[in-house]
């Protein structure tokens, strides 16, 4: 099994912590799905309410790996500074690196992403880059020091699933030894299954669970779907073919015409 900077995960689900109806439902979603990783972020803290401290107490009790993000950062400097602040707060070298390039699609600015990844890797960070399925960008990210790649399935929060199966399959084939995570775009359990059937190592999702009518049940469904896809991939699936092939033997068939 491929590891993430030396960490082997018991469960391929990386689950976000945003958008839930309540903190209790979020905690239940983690408990039910047994997600191995929680993504978190940083925001301005008021001196009066100090909401971040309450959230931190909940996250700490989940006993999962913490993956801070640089969500909302549109420049290299902003992302690098945010990463440093996240490392101090969450006490981890892991960083989900986002350098957003377009406000409508939230697609990554891959040029800034590579630059930020290089800076952070040199500073000792273990970078999980939110990228596209572009193989050239992927090569540059690996060269910059990344040991994990996280291509999008579809735009963040869209729930569209895997928009470019061919590109993702190509990525899996080209980087056979690199841990690959589908990050963003998952809407249904079947999308998660498809990602694992392609040979991906994990799926990072948030909105599909948090905005479901029953987030805890959807978290359970996602975990089951990921396990099914992973088992299917491990079972060495048959090759598809264009024409039908009878599964019932024709030898010995009665002549009844």
């Amino acid at each position: 099994m491929r590891s993430f900077y030396g960490v082997t995960l018991d469960n391929p689900l990386m689950l976000g912590t945003a958008l839930y109806p309540s903190p209790a439902i979020m905690a239940d979603a983690f408990a039910t799905s047994k997600a191995a990783v929680a993504t978190v972020s940083l925001r301005r803290e008021g001196s009066v309410d100090q909401a971040g401290q309450d959230f931190w107490n909940i996250i700490r009790d989940l006993s999962v790996h913490i993956l801070p993000n640089t969500a909302g950062c549109h420049s290299v400097k902003e992302a690098v500074t945010t990463a440093h602040m996240a490392r101090e707060i969450f006490n981890t070298n892991w960083i989900k690196l986002e350098v957003i390039g377009h406000t409508d699609t939230l697609q990554p600015d891959v040029f800034g992403l590579v630059e930020a990844a290089r800076i952070l890797s040199q500073d000792g960070f273990q970078v999980f880059p939110y990228t596209t399925e572009d193989l050239v960008v992927a090569e540059k990210l690996l060269h910059a020091g990344c040991e994990v790649l996280m291509p999008w399935g579809a735009p963040i929060g869209s729930g569209q699933g895997l928009n470019n199966i061919l590109g993702l399959r190509s990525m899996r084939a080209h980087f056979a030894d690199v841990p690959l995570v589908i990050d963003a775009g998952i809407g249904l359990p079947s999308h998660a299954t498809a990602a694992m059937e392609l040979g991906f190592d994990a799926v990072l999702l948030n909105t599909a669970v948090a905005k479901a009518g029953d987030p805890v049940e959807m978290a359970r469904a996602m975990a089951l779907a990921l396990a099914a896809g992973q088992a299917g991939a491990n079972a060495d699936p048959m090759e598809p073919r264009d024409m039908a092939a009878p599964s019932t033997p024709v030898i010995g068939k009665a002549f009844l015409e």
Partner: protein, 65 residues
Amino acid sequence: MKINVNGELREITSPNLADALDELGYGDAKIATAVNENFIPATLRHDTELVQNDRLEILAPMQGG
């Protein structure tokens, strides 16, 4: 002196970042800081002097995807 704290003008008397955080009410909160868009590690807060019109960002854990 007046400094900008998370986008709002605040009047403080503390000469350095560590004391300013206490004065602003953050105490032992789990926070990270940046002054004028540069990260200031917790270990350097005492040695970081603040001057008029500095821009201080105080961040804390938050939900994220």
